[in-house]
Symmetry: C2
Subunit: 350 residues, 2 copies
């Protein structure tokens, strides 16, 4: 199989971890006789530094002309602590999601048996957790109109949803549930928000097309509790953009390290694969960041193109490695491997 992969490694630890997943993809290509062409492009703070634009036109064109995008991380403290910055790294990622029409962000959360002890949660709580979050990614308060009055004293963000935006991701979530434990939980705040009531109405009506799937509802405040109290109750969680951002980062604690969590963003255009973690500036350049989330994102990329056998090899390699207690410092304090060593171990296991 021939595939053009745009590599946008971005900021902070992005380049370090992405380098490892490219290494892993290349080894898969070698082993299976595929032809993966990697092309790098700028995004985020580094793109602002070099071009003034967090998503240079060139990068966007490359992504549109590629079969998949492998994304690193985005963000830089120098912008975070400057509320007056006109251009921000995150705009690059948000614009890319929008331009590629990536309306669904898919985030699987599983508790690896070998890591049950690493979680801040008790073993008996997380055991058996196997959920996937479908987060809407191109709507809601992220993309609604933003205003700031001239005096800079009143600001607003509009959260807006249209029925079709809800339907298209809901269909994906229900279809996923059909292949899993057949349960969808809609997370919203329908007792307060008009948009949430629209979600509830649209999803309830669409659920009739999937009679084999059970639909239930949770207010987001309660969901934030249930995620910790009893995470194994969840199969597929469906939710809007902002709630999905919060709930899925929260859920990342279940697995013991956010450095393990991958995601796929799919929709109309080229699909994008990225770790859930951020740019983690404190670790940048130290060769200590956990590349597993990026490597698992590469596996999700392969699955997207029905290269299931290849993806399975990566999953298995990661599991074997974790079972052998090989990990970066977030997982193995006493005898940590470096970022690049982890990539090498996975390649060897493949």
């Amino acid at each position: 199989m021939k595939m053009k992969i745009a590599v946008l490694s971005g900021d902070g630890i992005g380049p370090e971890v992405t380098k490892e997943s490219v290494k892993v993809l290349q080894s898969i290509a070698d082993a299976f006789g595929h032809d993966f062409q990697f092309k790098e492009a700028l995004v985020g703070a580094i793109a602002i530094d070099q071009t003034g634009n967090p998503l240079p036109e060139e990068t966007l064109v490359l992504c549109k002309n590629s079969d998949a995008v492998l994304f690193g991380a985005i963000g830089d403290p120098k912008y975070d602590n400057n509320p007056d910055a006109k251009v921000r790294p995150e705009q690059g990622l948000l614009k890319l999601r929008k331009e590629l029409g990536l309306f669904a962000n898919i985030r699987p959360i599983t508790a690896y048996d070998s890591l049950l002890e690493k979680s801040p949660l008790k073993k008996e709580i997380i055991q058996g957790t196997d959920m996937v979050i479908y987060r809407e990614l191109t709507g809601g308060i992220y993309f609604g109109e933003k205003q700031l009055n001239e005096e800079g004293t009143v600001a607003s963000d509009l959260c807006e949803y249209a029925q079709y935006e809800i339907e298209r991701i809901a269909h994906l979530a229900f279809k996923a549930a059909q292949q899993r434990r057949k349960k969808v939980t809609l997370v919203d705040k329908a007792n307060v928000l008009e948009t949430s009531r629209l979600w509830r109405r649209v999803v309830t009506s669409l659920a009739k097309e999937y009679p084999d799937v059970t639909l239930d509802f949770l207010f987001v405040d309660n969901a934030a509790m249930q995620m910790i109290l009893n995470p194994s109750q969840f199969d597929v969680i469906l939710t809007e953009n902002m709630f999905g951002d919060i709930i899925s980062d929260e859920g990342s604690v279940i697995g013991g390290s956010i450095g393990l969590l991958a995601s796929a963003s799919v929709g109309k255009g080229t699909a994008l694969f990225e770790p859930i973690h951020g740019s983690y500036p404190q670790a940048t350049g130290k060769n200590i960041a956990n590349p597993v989330a990026s490597i698992l994102s590469a596996a999700m990329l392969l699955e997207q193109f029905s290269l299931h056998e290849e993806a399975r090899l990566i999953y298995k390699a990661v599991e074997t490695m974790l079972n052998e207690n090989i990990g970066t410092i977030d997982l193995n304090k006493d005898n940590p491997s470096s970022t690049s060593e982890i990539g090498d171990v996975i390649v060897k296991l493949i």
Copy 2:
């Protein structure tokens, strides 16, 4: 001391738990020679059923003419699952907060030593947790304009904040921090939201008036992780309405039961005291709900009127009771006490 207390016990388990906190307040009054006058009024689903209005005018007038409001819980599944309901129980609480100008909701979260084992989190993670969340309560997306187009296909909620709304609660948070460990953490999503950037700007500038307090920032997604990974890092958390709703319910898992968490809502008018938990319909009428959150809310009420000695008695009684492993079914599965028994135990200990 003479005090008029409006009792709005509301829906679900609200009446059961509030009955116990009234009992406790009465015993305090008896012991200290205070004169507490309790007057009940309708709010929520029960108010809709009886008057068509979730906050009858009479109730509002009573609250305005009282020294404090003791609130139970609100909400009924028959409205939750009906996105088309025109009148909703929650509107009663939201309107009450707005009418009384209760812009700050104060939610302390502590890990009781005797309950360290009950939490889904590991003991070493929660030990020493002692934070208080200052949640803005009368602004943001809860109160911004809501729209639904005629066809019912597009909905929106406006999140809006003005500088003065941020300043007044920020002052309270910084003052609280001065009495505590001198740290304020602002939780926002300043990399995406205009309102969050306004929060960051206003709070940063106001922090200069409190040179003895350290201010730091967390994006809400990261905060949702940190709350579980390392809750003892927090002293005072300051945040907007919706993020506060989510983060504080999430934080409730630290203490082992949401049935322990009290809150005070303060601002311009009569202050209101309520447990964080909801109406918990499944437990209604069974005399099994945990009244401790309501009883601790009553203690916060006493503190508000500088009755510190009285409040301390309640805190001590609750702690003694928990140390003796006396609790409702959420805390003591093997030998649970009933709701009213817990009230009696506290009264006896006082």
